[in-house]
Symmetry: C2
Subunit: 128 residues, 2 copies
Amino acid sequence: MISIGELARRTATKIPTIRYYEQAGLVPAADRTEGNQRRYGREAVQRLQFVRHCRELGFSLDDIREMILLDADPDLPCSAIHGIAESQLAAVRARISRLKSLERELTRILALPHDASSGQCAVITNLV
Amino acid sequence: MISIGELARRTATKIPTIRYYEQAGLVPAADRTEGNQRRYGREAVQRLQFVRHCRELGFSLDDIREMILLDADPDLPCSAIHGIAESQLAAVRARISRLKSLERELTRILALPHDASSGQCAVITNLV
DNA sequence: CCTTGAACCTCTAGTGGCTAGAGGTTCTAT
DNA sequence: ATAGAACCTCTAGCCACTAGAGGTTCAAGG
């Protein structure tokens, strides 16, 4: 049984974030000591790692909640989880292509020669 | 002189967003009719378009405020504006490369064969 | 000139995903 | 026994909007 501080260290998560996840139902409510402090077991570390990894991959808390629910039901469709992951992949790809066009435009604007005569910044005039 | 609704239409911006920008100092406070309704001129359309375009490019409201200030000062360094744009470009590139690695991982996980025997979803087990 | 109803006004509160701080309690090591 | 590190709850703040309540004003048609 470890404290919240230790759990935070092991999962590279800030303490308030852990409490927030508990309150949001992404992590089960921890056992408590007599003095009301949280104590965590092995499973808690795994679950939190799962949540963190999903977050890194860009899943929303809602997505993660849904995956946990689906996973908890052993009879239930892996295909549903697949679906979530697939739509996440699509979203990631969409974001990439959007960012790439931003990159192109910013690069173009920054490459423009500085027009000292007009006194106007090329970056500004090209952004309007 | 056009109404806020017309301005919203012309710039593809929601009305509350325009009021929010005004309150946030990104757009000058509009003239008012006797009945206290906002009326906008030609410049307002341009300014709002500039703000919207910057937002599309991912600049923060703070960045935009700063660019507007810098632009308003004619003696002042275009180089400062350049700097903002450059750091924005760097941020965009960082986001792209992060998203690409997410894309790779999601693709990998989704390509895994479905293990019907274990009853466990490959997506879940690979996310832990 | 009067009425209708679309468009406007302000103000408050909610979104997501945390993060920070105040003010107080408990644990642990000496 | 005591110091101080770590914990507790609760509230409020961050960004960039968005939604809704409840009330006012505008513009067009009769």
